[in-house]
Amino acid sequence: MALPASRSRALAHLRICDLTGQLAGAGATKFLAAFGAQVIRVEDPVRQGSWDILRGVPPFVDERRGVNLGGAFNNHNVEKLGITIDLRQERGKDLLRELVAVSDAVTENFAAGVFARMGFPYEELARVKPDIVYVSNSGFGAAGPYSSFRTWGPIVQAVSGLTFSSGLPGLPPAGWGFSYMDHMGANYMAIAVMSGLVHRNRTGEGQWIDMACTEPGIALCGPDLLDFSVNGRPLRRDGQPHSNHSHAPAMAPHNIYAAEGDDEWIAIACRDDDDWARLATVIAEPWAKDERYATLDGRLADQGTLDAHVESWTRTRNRHAAAEAIRASGVPASAVASPEDRIEHDPGTSEFGLWPRVHHTEIGEVRVDGLPVHFSDTDWSIEHGAPCLGEHTDDVLRDVLGLGDDDIVSLHEEKVV
């Protein structure tokens, strides 16, 4: 029986030996797997794959709980194969070496130094496969005074400036409300893997690419940092941050306003004077005709009052209807969309095919996050759910590593797999 694989052929010539977990690592190899790379997840049989804490945690379909039933784990590990190897045993280590020897890349996001302590420093990987591309992703990287510090998404966001730069004046930081840097860390990690493979294909050289997730996080605050390094102006100053306003480029009105109902909101952004003129026509109230508001400088000078005026108009209107009326005039606007709004009632996602339904061996049918791109020739395909613990162990041992039935039986008997 052939191993299950994504229907995409884009990366079907590549094999990844994958020891990642959570979203920051697993998200990177999900992208590669959806484009056809053979991603072989290696997990620990002794502790039931628990180096990925998401394996057995909510959400669950129909409240069915278990190590194979975690909804987040399924979301991040579609189209991958799953095997178990006990890396405490010498035979287990040998097995991983055999897998590395036939892989193009090795990926992991353990805390810095953990994989080396398990017996697999880069030198060992390169001894087994000289041109291997090895990518490690930890909070602070393999070197530096904080390299032993432990992180997860919100900690990375806190120490990279992203939490601080999300908020309103006079209030504590609002932060990101999710592990934004797990998503972006995964994207950067995928870029590291693929750019490493491009380099290998050109030169024959493998290497160890080490990522400290906080550093790309800092790089996502670029213009604010240049204002500091060039002009000496910190973002920690009176009146800042105000991240619902827009400074680069300067826009006004530009905010999130209360709409009719309880906790319902609408975002409006006037990019220029023409946008304002159109919005003023939609609003059609006397204050909107105020000459002071005809220019950006005038609107910026009195932004607090202007925001209060706009909100007095939005507050009595349905967020969807008002956003649609404003957009119809050519001005950017959107209801602050709930998960249900954007997943069940938005042609912008449904027509894009953004929520593919997968079949998971134990969960059954469930929808997952797709990818926000389409390729004209070798588009991504997501149909297979995440692997159950050890679901493909025997198939991989036989079809990828070429082991015979006797060897496989003996590996099971010795609890190596």
């Binding site: 592990s179 991240s243 996602t349």
Partner: protein
């Protein structure tokens, strides 16, 4: 792409990218350029409007003084072409035909109308990879709707997750034009995927990136909690939006700045570290719950299962959290962050971007890099490598180009 590379070149050395200047895709061009690609950014006459975005060097506006333009256009060469003029269009078609990758963020239909879309150019160059980054993708019924970073993040999910426990306050858009970053990262990943595929197939392809879709798959549990269990997450100050309300994790320090206290301890060694830290600081008398930390150590830690059943365990768990809050309130964010992490507790300082950029760790790693602005006779610190690849290093090869700075050089090559 042939021949052995010297070890100092980036992984995309020898790859040419022709980028039509845009807000949407500028970050993707920078990602590819800093990885060694030869990126040529094409602007309209007079330069791209992005040159008018602040802040400006020395606060003096000017097309060569925008720090936003500087940041997003490192490692690129710059040319000017008027695509609406037949001669400009012809030159663009010839230039695009020299590229491995074309990157653009034009409104859907605009390039087709002037005969410069991917079909026109790829017809004579099937190996070309063409990446279009648009607000709603090229092919959905929303394709022509106006959008900005704010409205994309509001309609695409991230804003729903962000804000405060007090829901009379509006939800919050995270700063820094992240909708552009999210979409651009997927654009760069897609370009690399297509490049790797081309190495075996010989052909390129067209890639349609939707910024709205990109935001929608960048919400963590915002999406999958709904997809799996039809749960709706709710926003909470400085921590994960979840379907249930969790305890606060953000604490204000003695100097008014904040820290994230992470998860309270459960393991015996963490309780012991925390208790010893309170003692070392001389807070034993002031922190009343210290006896509960002692008890936690005696008991060998606690488990989450016991937490639900035993009120004493619940008190011990609460004391662990209180100890973190108490310590944070009595020191600076740096003292709390480094002190806790050295004791094995995963907490964070909520730093401003400039504090993050100048902290001892990233400085020791060489993350800030100096970029020479020869035109001003000055150099400035920029954020550096997102990852360390010793044999194919990331590098800013040049400052952002002036308007038309490389016109002669590029078209002489052509």
């Amino acid at each position: 792409m042939s021949g052995a590379a010297a070890s100092s070149t980036g992984p995309l050395d020898g790859v040419r990218v022709v980028e039509l200047a845009s807000d949407h895709a500028a970050w993707a061009g920078k990602l590819l350029g800093d990885l060694g690609a030869d990126v040529i950014v094409v602007e309209p006459p007079g330069g791209h409007p992005g040159r008018s975005y602040g802040p400006f060097v020395d606060d003096e506006p000017g097309p060569e003084r925008s720090l936003t333009w500087w940041y997003y256009n490192t490692s690129k060469r710059g040319v000017v072409l008027d695509l609406d003029d037949p001669d400009g269009a012809a030159r663009f078609r010839r230039l695009a035909a020299t590229a491995d990758i074309v990157l653009e963020g034009e409104p859907p239909g605009r390039l087709d109308a002037i005969g410069l879309d991917h079909r026109d150019v790829r017809a004579g160059r099937p190996e070309l990879i063409w990446v279009a980054v648009t607000p709603f993708g090229r092919a959905t019924s929303r394709a022509d709707e106006p959008a900005t970073d704010l409205t994309l993040l509001a309609g695409g999910g991230p804003v729903w997750n962000c804000g405060y426990d007090d829901h009379t306050l509006p939800p919050v858009r995270g700063g820094g034009n992240q909708a552009f970053h999210i979409a651009s990262s997927f654009a760069a990943m897609s370009a690399l995927t297509a490049l790797l595929h081309r190495e075996v197939s010989g052909t390129g392809q067209f890639i349609d990136v939707s910024m709205h879709a990109a935001a929608n798959v960048t919400t963590e549990s915002g999406s999958f909690d709904w997809l799996v269990a039809r749960n709706t997450v709710v926003r909470q100050t400085g921590r994960h939006a979840l379907a249930s309300i969790t305890q606060e994790t953000q604490v204000q320090c003695a100097d008014g700045r904040y820290v994230n206290t992470g998860f309270p301890p459960r393991h015996v060694k963490d309780f012991a570290s925390l208790r010893d830290w309170v003692d070392e600081c001389g807070f034993r008398d002031e922190f009343g719950d210290i006896v509960l930390l002692d008890l936690a150590v005696e008991r060998g830690g606690i488990s989450l299962g016991e937490l639900r059943e035993d009120p004493l365990i619940s008190e011990i768990y609460g004391a662990g959290r209180s100890a973190l809050v108490f310590l944070a309130e009595h020191m600076t964010p740096e003292e709390f962050f480094v002190g806790a992490q050295q004791r094995g507790l995963a907490v964070g300082a909520v730093w401003s971007p400039e504090e993050a950029f100048t902290n001892e760790h990233v400085v020791a790693r060489g993350f800030p890099v100096e970029v020479d602005h020869d035109d001003l006779g000055r150099s400035f610190a920029y954020p550096g490598a997102p990852f360390i690849a010793p044999r194919s290093p990331w590098r800013i090869s040049r400052r952002a180009p002036h308007v038309g700075e490389h016109q002669d050089e590029v078209f002489d090559e052509d």
